[in-house]
């Protein structure tokens, strides 16, 4: 009986196990059905903070009357945040922070130099070593200052450039004319970029002590490229081109105008500026590093190419005018007689006489075989001869006008140098006393 019971129980267990095995097997291999989906519920707690909008921070009002002290802080970031919080405009904020930071760093620079040590009896090497150390410290301070300004104002800025821009008067007016092709904000940025990059180049050159290795030239090139790309970010492409041409016309082309006897139109001058800009690195020139980054040979090639392009563009006759316009002797003649109707041929003739006289005077003065008295005599004869030639060419009215403006210069250039004349007088005095 007990055996039967055990068998029944065992069979029942077998049945149950079979059923469970089957159910599991179906669950793993059977077709997916909606009823087979496992539902997982994920509960996420979203933290909701009772915070005010990020900017501006809500002012906490105190009953005490407002005092500036509440804004000031030894930490510039807090000072700036406080000023912004009370609605101080960004430009005013800049005008408060920049001079303040400048004064702070000026003081630190002064402290660098506050040494009472007697360093007179040092060799040039020792002085240079001290100077290098000082330059390195100054540069570190400058970079630290720039980083602080950038952090506070969100952009690179130069107090020096800002001061320069704000300098009232003639230079400021000329800058406005030069950069008048763009708006004030952009021209300000241009000056900022230029001032900063030029300072970088100067610092780089100071480190080299005049010994430029190839790697230094690469770095200077990089600075030049950075300035150009910084400016290109500020200006539209056509403005960038205008900047290139306007800067180009300022460099060594002062004689290319009607006031120097060269008859060019504005459009022609612009085209000439383009020729110049295409034969010279205008941006390197702006930064005063073209001598450093380009070999003399390369620069000479650029100059020669420009001369040739210019000659072709203006033609041989006007090219001769351009060449004459470079010489102040011609400009003096032209400008003093330009409203008196002196013919161009006569003017050119007078110029040739004047130039030849200068050259002869030079020869006389440097002739070691001649005594001072002999030199003085020859120069006097040359003066007389030149005066006659000029009077003949320019006519009485023209010559008179020329003499009024440049007579003294004519006499001086065809006489003994004043210092030698003085020496001569002193020597004579000594002889007389003896």
């Amino acid at each position: 009986m007990r055996a039967v019971l055990a068998l029944v129980l065992s069979l029942a267990l077998s049945g149950a196990l079979l059923a469970m095995n089957y159910a599991l097997f179906r669950e793993r291999t059977g077709p997916t059905s909606p009823s087979a989906e496992r539902k997982v519920t994920v509960t996420t707690k979203r933290v909701v903070r009772n915070t005010p909008p990020a900017t501006p921070p809500a002012p906490v009002t105190n009953a005490a009357p407002f005092h500036w002290r509440a804004l000031e802080s030894a930490d510039y970031a807090v000072y700036a945040a406080n000023l912004r919080a009370v609605g101080c405009p960004e430009l005013t904020l800049r005008d408060i922070l920049l001079p303040d930071i400048e004064k702070l760093y000026d003081e630190r620079v002064k402290n660098l130099e506050d040494s009472t040590e007697d360093t007179f009896w040092e060799t040039a090497d020792q002085r240079d070593a001290r100077q290098r150390l000082r330059e390195a410290k100054l540069r570190a301070l400058e970079l630290e200052k720039r980083a602080l300004v950038q952090r506070l104002l969100g952009t690179e800025m130069s107090y020096e450039a800002l001061t320069e821009l704000r300098s009232a008067g003639f230079a400021s007016a000329l800058t406005e004319i030069l950069l008048g092709f763009t708006d004030t904000a952009k021209s300000d940025q241009l000056i900022m970029v230029f001032t900063l990059r030029e300072a970088d180049a100067k610092a780089q050159l100071a480190v080299t002590e005049g010994i430029l290795l190839d790697e230094d030239i690469t770095q200077l090139h990089a600075l030049r490229d950075r300035m150009e790309s910084d400016m290109a970010r500020v200006l539209a492409p056509h403005e960038m081109e205008e900047l290139r041409l306007r800067v180009s016309v300022l460099e060594g082309m002062n004689h290319l105008n009607r006031r120097s006897g060269v008859n060019v139109s504005g459009a022609e001058l612009r085209e000439i500026a383009r020729l110049r800009a295409d034969t010279r690195d205008v941006f390197a020139k702006m930064m005063n590093i073209d001598d450093e980054i380009y070999s003399e040979e390369l620069r000479a090639k650029g100059d020669a190419a420009f001369q040739e392009l210019l000659r072709r563009y203006v033609g041989p006759e006007r090219f001769a005018d351009v060449e004459r316009g470079k010489d102040y002797l011609f400009r003096n003649l032209f400008q003093s007689t330009e409203k008196l109707g002196v013919a161009k041929d006569a003017l050119v003739q007078a110029y040739e006489a004047r130039r030849a006289a200068d050259s002869q005077a030079q020869q006389i003065r440097s002739d070691q075989q001649l005594s001072n008295e002999e030199q003085a005599l020859l120069l006097a004869a040359l003066r007389a001869q030149t005066t006659q030639a000029l009077a003949r060419s320019l006519g009485p009215v023209g010559f008179d006008a020329y003499l009024k403006q440049h007579g003294k210069q004519l006499t001086n250039s065809l006489s003994m140098p004043v210092t030698r004349q003085r020496l001569e007088v002193q020597r004579t005095d000594v002889i007389t006393v003896k």
Binding site: A3, A6, S10, S14, L17, L24, E27, G30, A36, E37, R38, K39, T41, T43, V48, R49, P57, V60, T61, N62, A64, F66, H67, W68, N82, L83, A85, T92, D95, I96, E117, D118, T119, F120, W121, T123, A124, D125, R166, G169, A173, L174, I177, G180, T184, T208, E209, L212, L213, D214, E215, L250, R258, R259, S260, V264, G266, L269, R270, Q368
Partner: protein, 414 residues
């Protein structure tokens, strides 16, 4: 009926079924997706009020809270007064208002020159930039604008005070041997003397030249006496030595190691030598080279100087002193420093140069050498020297050497 084997069979079967069950269970959590189980995520958002982590607190005193618009004004004086009223330091107010006035003037200036902007190139074709505004109504208006700006700044200065600059006098190296208080005293004295000279210049501007010269000499003498009285004898002697060209020469040395006392002593030695052996004067100062007697005296003097220097410094020290005064060596030393090589390298480069130049000089002097042969010989010297130098200077510095110190190489075979 013996049920025992059947029971044992079912037990065995049960054990097998249990094993199968365990095996299947163990595999089940392995990959629910493979098992065809879709997981759906039901996100339940629960809003919980928590105290916020606040941004840096900006306290704005005042009730109602202060706003910048309360002080800002288009009227400069009102703006300045408002700033001062809230305790803004004068210096800061000066910065704000100074910038505002300058910006306003600048904006007006920009308006003034607008006509020139429009015809920039035509204007430039007429006149160079610096002269563009000369004599034009714009220049006049610009001047007036500038004056107006200055007038406003002056008005503001009356309210905000003048900027005080604590300009410390710059250090005067030549007076570094004096105590600080004496240096200050001397600076003050120099300032007073300069004013006195200016005053006298104005006073005697129209006086006869002789009278003018006499008065100026009188002042110079008096000032010299006053100045001398500030120094002790030792201080005065030291100041005189520092002003001398001998001091300038030893201070210009490079690659020469010496203590301050040694340098000072070298400067004294040079001064003493010049006093003992004055430089001879040629018969005709204009043609000193044509005076053999003068040349001989110069050579003799130079030999004496050399002998005295060697006695003092030794052969090696004298060589270092001479080299240290040589501008060619200065450049080479700087190059060596930039290349992070020892100063001895610069000495070696200079020796190569000196040897090559001497070789070239001797080759040029051989009268019996035909021109073609001389040209070949000079070219060979140049090629060999360049090769040796290039190896000595190294590739990193070679192009800099050529640019800055290598012009002489081009002259070797000329």
């Amino acid at each position: 009926m013996n049920l025992r084997p059947i029971i044992l069979g079912t037990v065995a079967a049960n054990l097998a079924l249990v094993s199968a069950l365990l095996w299947q269970t163990a595999r089940a959590p392995d990959s629910p997706l493979r098992a065809g189980v879709m997981v759906r995520t039901n996100v339940v958002t629960e809003f919980v009020d928590e105290p916020a982590t606040r941004p840096p607190e900006v306290k704005v005193p005042g009730s109602p809270p202060f706003h910048w618009s309360k002080v800002e004004s288009t009227n400069y004086l009102a703006y300045a007064t408002n700033l001062l009223a809230i305790g803004c330091p004068n210096e800061t107010a000066r910065d704000i208002l100074g910038a505002r006035v300058a910006d306003d003037v600048r904006a007006q200036m920009r308006e003034l020159v607008k006509p020139f902007n429009a015809r920039f190139w035509e204007a430039m074709a007429d006149e160079k930039l610096e002269k563009l505004l000369e004599g034009t109504p714009t220049e006049k208006a610009g001047e007036e604008l500038k004056k107006e700006g200055e007038r406003i700044q002056a008005e503001l200065q009356a309210v905000l005070g003048k900027e005080t600059k604590s300009d410390k006098p710059g250090r005067n190296e030549q007076l570094g041997h004096l105590p600080q208080d004496k240096q200050t005293e001397l600076t003050t004295l120099n300032g007073r003397h300069a004013k006195e000279r200016d005053t006298l210049t104005r006073e005697v501007a129209k006086a006869p030249p002789a009278e003018r010269a006499a008065k100026q000499k009188e002042l110079r003498d008096r000032q010299g006496t006053e100045r001398r009285a500030l120094f002790t004898d030792a201080e005065w002697n030291e100041a005189e030595l520092r002003r001398s060209p001998y001091a300038a020469r030893v201070r210009a040395l490079r690659g020469f190691t010496a203590t301050p006392d040694e340098l000072k002593s070298l400067a004294r030695m040079a001064g003493d030598f010049d006093s003992a052996y004055p430089r001879p004067t040629p018969r005709d100062p204009k043609r000193p080279d044509e005076d053999p007697d003068h040349k001989a005296k110069l050579e003799e003097r130079e030999a004496q100087r050399k002998a005295q220097s060697i006695a003092r410094l030794g052969e090696a020290g004298f060589a270092a002193f001479e080299r240290g005064s040589d501008p060619r060596f200065h450049t080479l030393l700087k190059l060596a420093r930039r290349l992070d090589v020892q100063p001895a390298s610069a000495t070696q480069w200079l020796e190569i140069q000196t040897a090559a130049q001497e070789q070239v000089r001797l080759t040029r002097q051989i009268a019996a050498l035909p021109d073609d042969a001389r040209t070949v010989a000079l070219l060979a010297i140049r090629v060999e020297t360049e090769r040796t130098l290039q190896a000595a200077v190294g590739p990193r510095g070679w192009s800099a050497y050529q640019r800055l110190a290598g012009d002489w190489l081009k002259q070797l075979d000329k």
